[in-house]
Amino acid sequence: MEAVVDNLDLLLEGFLRTLTLTALAATGALCLGTLVAAMRVSPLLPLRWAGTCYVESVRNTPLTVVFALAVFGLPKAGLGLTFFQFALLALTLYTGTFVAEAVRSGVNSVAPGQSEAARTLGMSFPQTLGLVILPQAFRNVIPPLASVFIALLKNSSIASAFGVAEATSRMGSLIEDNPSAVLWLLAAVALGYVVLALAASLLFSRLERSLAVAR
């Protein structure tokens, strides 16, 4: 218990970094995933093909491998970034595939008559998608997106193995220094993740409700 209280500042700092990493990766993944979903439903075959290749290759690679590829592979290709930036990149690329699949299922859940009506008015494909389809698609996929982002929060702990001093990595070094307090430290960090995940759930269910009223 003491080990937790005495090192609360370090743990909180770790969680702050976890939160920053998660929030930035979530934002990036949302943009990337939406773009890729749009590519996968576009009328242009090369775009659909590129989108599918990205999703199927990255989604089916273990996240640890994606991290390793970013951290060890990219410097070889001449890209020098901080560990945090590599972690952000890996998490964004990985989570983007799940966002893309969620958004695509949302697009498919919108009645086909909606896009026909939009095209009938003379809207282009990007207009149809951006003004009519995606706004409705997002409403339909808020719960699965919440799951994707909670998974992202937990996945961000892999960054601890690649030099990022986020919550899990702080826990690791604190356990080394205070081996007798291992259970307390584990419990405290677990609690921290649970609190963050619950906060995210709450945020998303509020978002879902506020959008549902607007119908």
Binding site: G113, R119, T120, G122
Partner: protein
């Protein structure tokens, strides 16, 4: 009634149009000309290809062979040109297809603002006028789901009209409506026809056909079997298939 306008081509011309869905031949050598200001009602049994015919005119369905001209120009194949043509051809669907996440007024102004680049204030004013014209001015700020079917369909008509279309296509606009709401929609359509709008209407509402149509086109099994003025068609159908069809719908 005389619809030939000097020097101006007919608004819609289908010549030798064929269309397959897989092995199914849904449009067989269809020829149809719609003059300016003309109202053509298309009737025929289920599956005869009426919707498909209607949807080829703004290329929601592509065709295999033949040619379709709107206002003298062949239908563009795709891209900006096709979008531009679609903006000039209004369409009203059986299932309304209003944008569920937009208010009634936004449904009517979205096209003009985003496709035509009209200023919002101007589009709003015009949109409210149009909603007034179809009798639902007070519902402007509601969402489609809060409206009855008849009201939704009138919004859909206003939405199409907001683009100032040259021709309006209606695919069974009253088939999804409760009986007591059918008339409010047909009245709006009749008024449109009186105002000189060129219309292609797939419907089995014979009252509307008698009141508003210049011509009835009877389709069966992918072909246009018979064309005539409404009174003539309903009183003296020439083909056996039309007689048979009419005897079935008239008994109801």
């Amino acid at each position: 009634m005389e619809h030939h306008t000097d020097g101006q081509p007919p608004l819609v011309v289908l010549s030798g149009v064929n269309k397959h869905f897989g092995a199914l031949h849904v449009l067989k050598d269809v020829n149809l000309t719609v003059e300016r200001g003309e109202v053509v009602v298309v009737i025929g049994p289920s599956g005869s290809g009426k919707s498909t015919l209607c949807r080829t005119i703004n290329r929601l369905e592509t065709i295999d062979t033949g040619e379709i001209r709107v206002d003298g120009r062949p239908l563009p194949l795709e891209g900006k040109e096709l979008a531009k043509l679609r903006a000039e051809v209004g369409m009203v669907f059986q299932s309304f297809n209003l944008f569920a996440h937009k208010t009634v007024l936004e449904n009517v102004t979205l096209g003009p603002i985003k496709v035509r680049g009209v200023k919002r204030a101007e589009a709003d004013a015009r949109g409210r006028d149009l909603l007034e014209r179809v009798g639902i001015g007070e519902q402007a700020d509601k969402y489609p789901a809060q409206l009855s079917g008849g009201q939704q369909q009138r919004v859909a008509i206003a939405r199409a009209l907001a683009m100032d279309p040259k021709v309006m296509l209606f695919d069974e606009p009253t088939s999804a409506l409760d009986p007591e709401m059918i008339n409010e929609v047909l009245e709006v359509m009749t008024a449109l026809a009186k105002d000189g709008m060129t219309m292609v209407v797939v419907t089995h509402e014979m009252g509307f056909a008698r009141r508003a149509a210049n011509r009835v086109v009877f389709m069966d099994n992918g072909s246009i079997v018979e064309e005539a003025e409404p009174e003539e068609f309903f009183a003296r159908p020439r083909s056996e298939r039309a007689k048979d069809f009419l005897s079935k719908i008239l008994t109801h």
